[in-house]
């Protein structure tokens, strides 16, 4: 009887299960917890783009995409659990969306032969493909961001900031400390004074830091924050009447969530970005038609066009283009994780390609190679328009200071290679 019952259950399960998809992509999302407000739009964008490809194009190269979502709650342990529980079955790429999870996954993914794409976060020196075979952080990384902020300040001051003071308000964690070395190096080069102001996690109380800013009156404030730290910092800046146009956040401090609680007074706040903003792109018409109206949107469908939705969608688009590249290289539609890595390593994003995808001028042009897993380091500056209720791009994409950064990347990655006995590739 038991065997019959077991057989019946198995038969039902097998009949009900969908055909196994060949292109498995995992979305390690966080829709719960303190950072859910940021995790939801990113995940919605990431999933909606793959859903669009399935619905409109029948997948990629004829193979349907099997998108698996796993909730991390922005918790490193849960992120690792997600990786371990989903890595089987040919998962092509992971986008951990957390620097903490990324650091844990680098050795695991390297051992398992599964590529990581840590777009604008994670370990910066993973840009060096000679050391980090399975990790990619194109199109820009934290050190690019620090350089973009300084270049923007240089551009506003006719190239001379030797008499300026810049304060870095940062989350007192590995993530927040990432830009310090770059900013110190750039300080040596350009002569500005750098003040470091760490903020305790989670950042709900920042009075000390902003009183110091009020006393010392730095010319510019750069922020490396996340979650509630961003909203409180912007509110405190408003309270002490710090000029918002001289307040520049990294791209993780530059979403609508960060500025809206401060209301109209946040107008003029700037944030870095490595992709364009808004929803005035042909691809959004398709997302509306094939995803939202078809009732297949990942979330409530109310995040489309927000900064973080765009970022998630951009990440999915780059993953899809890497899959296409891998399919072309290997002449097969059903690629493996190792073949996906080849696709990522040979990815080239041109304006023609982005325009054809319905995303003209959406991101910078860049090329990935065996040596360079981080792209060309282009970024731009956006500014909050409180009246319109949106961030607007106010500069073209420009390149980070490669002269300074390349040396830092080389130094850090080589130290990692030596510590871990990694044999260099691409020789």
């Amino acid at each position: 009887m038991k065997m019959k019952l077991f057989g019946a259950i198995m038969a039902t399960a097998m009949a009900a299960a969908p055909a196994l998809a060949e292109l498995k992509v995992v979305d390690t999302s966080y829709r719960t917890g303190p950072y859910a407000a940021n995790g939801i739009p990113f995940s919605d964008g990431y999933q909606d783009y793959f859903t669009l490809l399935n619905e409109r194009d029948g997948g990629i190269g004829g193979e349907m995409i099997n998108l698996v979502e796993c909730e991390t709650g922005y918790n490193t342990e849960k992120g690792v659990e997600c990786y371990e529980s989903t890595k089987g079955g040919g998962s092509l790429v992971y986008q951990p969306l957390s620097t903490g999870i990324t650091y844990q996954l680098i050795p695991k993914a390297t051992a398992d032969g599964i590529p990581l794409h840590t777009m604008g976060y994670g370990r910066t020196s993973a840009k060096n493909g000679k050391v980090f075979e399975w990790v990619f952080n194109y199109p820009a990384n934290y050190w690019d961001g620090a350089s973009h902020a300084v270049t923007h300040i240089l551009n506003e001051n006719d190239g001379d900031i030797s008499d300026k003071t810049i304060a870095l308000v940062y989350h007192n964690s590995a993530y927040g400390k990432e830009p310090i070395r770059t900013l110190e190096k750039l300080s040596e080069k350009h002569g500005y004074d750098l003040t470091l102001l760490p903020v305790d996690h989670p950042g709900q109380e920042q009075k000390s830091q902003w009183l110091q800013i009020r006393r010392e009156k730095p010319d510019y404030v750069i922020m490396w924050g996340w979650g509630v730290m961003n909203q409180v910092a912007i509110q405190e800046a408003v309270n002490i009447r710090f000029p918002m146009e001289n307040f520049i956040g990294i791209w993780w401090s530059g979403s609508e969530n960060d500025v809206k609680p401060a209301g109209d007074r946040a107008n003029g706040y700037k944030a870095l970005t490595f992709h364009n903003l808004g929803s005035d792109y042909p691809v959004y018409d398709d997302i509306q038609k094939y995803v939202v109206e078809a009732g297949k949107a990942a979330g409530a469908g109310d995040q489309i066009g927000t900064v973080l939705y765009n970022r998630g969608m951009y990440a999915a688009m780059l993953a899809a283009e890497a899959i296409k590249t891998a399919q072309e290289i290997h002449g097969t539609a059903a690629i493996t994780p190792a073949q996906m890595r080849d696709g990522m390593e040979n990815l080239e994003m041109t304006e023609e390609k982005m325009a054809a995808l319905g995303l003209p001028n959406f991101g910078p042009e860049f090329k990935v190679s065996c040596e360079n897993h981080g792209g060309n380091g282009y970024g731009a500056v956006s500014q909050w328009n409180a009246e319109a209720g949106e961030f607007e791009l106010i500069t073209d994409y420009y390149q980070s200071d490669q002269e300074v950064l390349q040396a830092l990347v080389e130094e850090d990655s080589m130290a990692f290679a030596e510590e871990n006995g990694i044999e260099l590739r691409c020789q």
Binding site: A37, D200, V238, I240
Partner: protein
């Protein structure tokens, strides 16, 4: 007057204000601990839930709209009206009383005379439940909260201090309001606990559940009342913190700021929560100002817990806590 001293005075004043905000969170813990001996782990989440409910009511948001839309394929999000702040606060209070009744009915009335650790574990479960419930009910997005409290630098203090010291002090108007409200709240709660019939019953329950029952005090009523009061304190804390940072799920983490306050002020003293909050607020701000920069900064959380630890060593019951006497 030396510049550093003047700045130190500004930091001191801001520390006092920050301390009041910490004390607001700590008060909720004290109320429940005083009446039931329960260390309520969910107090931070209650502040979050109260603030979420307040914004939801003010904005006319349909509760559980995401769930309703997902199940029934509808597209409803708002009722289309906006509720004035005062009315919304009253309605939120009704919700918090209902929550208190539900918490007591489904959880704590089943746990009378259980070990404190069991009651504590139950509040951990409640915290997780309430966080998820709040998410399903109101959504996870960050909401702007504006109940009409002014924010930004207080011009009068700025001007007066500038005339006195040649340097205008920064004091946030919101912090001044928080101080005023906290004073009212503490005076009200102390008067209630000391002089009202229900207040005395609350203290009797705190001393001994069974003895209180034997003289005819309704444990259920007292517990619902205390959880409602804690809900009210949570609502006030949620409004103050939510106005600063927007109402978002990290609001629940403000409980972390209350723990050193409780260790210092004592778990059973309402004035202790205030004094503890002020000591922690002033201490951490002055330490960060005077020493923080020399040792890398971001010392505030560290300092608060170290100060609390020192107090624990020399006065385990806190400054105002009841002395622990164990007789063999």
């Amino acid at each position: 007057m030396p510049e550093q001293f003047i700045w130190g005075m500004e930091v001191f004043a801001n520390g006092l204000m920050a301390g009041v905000l910490y004390a607001l969170v700590a008060l909720g813990f004290v109320l429940i601990y005083k009446a039931s001996g329960i260390f309520n782990f969910s107090q931070g989440v209650m502040a979050l839930f109260a603030a979420l409910t307040l914004v939801g009511i003010m904005e006319g948001q349909v509760p559980f709209s995401h769930l309703i839309n997902a199940v029934f394929g509808t597209e409803i999000h708002h009722f289309g009206w906006h509720v004035p702040a005062l009315a919304a606060i009253l309605l939120t209070m009704v919700v918090m009383v209902l929550l208190a009744w539900l918490v007591n009915y489904f959880i704590f009335r089943h746990l009378v005379n259980q070990e404190p650790i069991i009651l504590f574990m139950a509040t951990i479960g409640l915290a997780y439940f309430l966080e998820g419930f709040g998410d399903i009910m109101w959504g996870a997005d960050i909401k702007k909260l504006d109940v009409g409290l002014p924010q930004g630098i207080n011009g009068t203090i700025d001007e007066v201090t500038y005339n006195l010291f040649g340097y205008g002090f920064f004091i946030d108007n919101l912090d001044l309001w928080a101080t005023f409200i906290a004073i009212l709240l503490v005076v009200g709660l102390v008067l209630f606990a000391q002089y009202s019939k229900h207040g005395r019953a609350m203290r009797a329950v705190a001393d001994d559940h069974q003895a209180a029952l034997s003289v005819g005090i309704s444990l259920n009523f007292i517990w619902v009342m205390v959880w409602s009061l804690a809900g009210f304190v949570a609502l006030v804390a949620g409004i103050m913190w939510g106005t600063k940072s927007g109402v978002q799920f990290s609001l629940s983490l403000i409980a972390l700021k209350a723990l050193p306050v409780l260790m210092l002020g004592g778990f059973t003293s309402i004035p202790g929560a205030i004094v503890g909050g002020l000591l922690i607020g002033v201490g951490e701000k002055l330490f960060e100002f005077a020493i923080g920069g020399m040792i890398g900064g971001a010392t505030e959380n560290w300092f608060a817990y170290v100060l609390a630890l020192i107090f624990l060593v020399f006065r385990p019951q806190g400054l105002f806590g009841e002395k622990i006497i164990e007789r063999v």
